[in-house]
Amino acid sequence: MVKHYPLSLDTTFAALADPTRRRILESLSHRQRRVTDLADLFPMSLPAVSKHLRVLEDAGLLKRRRFGREHHLELDPAPMREAQRWIEYYRKFWEGSLDALAAYLEKNNQPKKKKKGKKP
């Protein structure tokens, strides 16, 4: 059985924080690959690639299927959708905050529009 949830955003973020791991996922975004083929795409040793794969698997971002001695890797986009949801949520949060900040400060900052020539 493929291990699925429980999803932890912490784990997803940690896994995605590394550019090599993001590239691995990208290379799997359109097709499955064998571990050995995947390793050929990266200028590092097979054990180094394997280490990254393990992190991605633990985060639920990768599924591994075994065909005899061959290991095939496949992307699981579910945790990424969760990360994407997080990004969208906070984009709105900060945009809303900055709109409110602008409204607050720009109102406060404007010289009072009363009568002219009333300088102290």
Binding site: F13, L16, A100, A102
Partner: protein, 148 residues
């Protein structure tokens, strides 16, 4: 889907028609923060802020969100009036989001007509980054980019 190539972070920016010192102050002054942070969706009732490196902030929510967990975090960098870096425990507002410690960097740039505020919110628990060794992250990322 092309999200895999992006780091888990987001940037939001806006020009505010007010002097940089004033805009910066609005981020670390409780009586200001309660007026804008969170926007309309997520209003803050009370704020306590200890604006120094290592100092904490706590925001309590208003109305129906009262009693929800606080928004809270720790300042990692304070460079008035240019830059503010603090941790941000997510899920403080509506409880929709899981509680994850993240990092927010706010940059204030003086521009004609006001101050450009740029927020970078990074969603990963890199311990080094969280604890304030900001350059370490950038440097190691650059190193990795060169290696690959």
């Amino acid at each position: 889907m092309n999200t895999t190539t992006q780091p888990v972070s987001l940037k939001v920016s806006r020009l505010i028609k007010a002097p940089r010192e004033r805009v910066f102050a609005a981020w670390i002054t409780p009586s200001d923060v309660v007026r804008w942070l969170g926007g309309e969706k997520c209003q803050i009732q009370t704020a306590t802020i200890d604006p120094r490196v290592g100092g904490e902030y706590h925001f309590k929510m208003k109305g129906s969100d009262a009693g929800k967990p606080e928004m809270t975090g720790v300042f990692r960098e304070i460079k008035s009036p240019e830059r503010l870096v603090f941790t941000w425990l997510t899920g403080g507002c509506t409880g929709e989001m899981p509680r994850v410690e993240t990092l927010v960097t706010v940059e204030f740039a003086a521009q004609a007509g006001g101050t450009l505020v740029q927020i970078t919110h990074e969603g990963f628990p890199d311990a080094e980054l969280r604890d304030g060794h900001n350059d370490g992250w950038t440097a190691s990322l650059e190193k990795l980019e060169k290696l690959v």
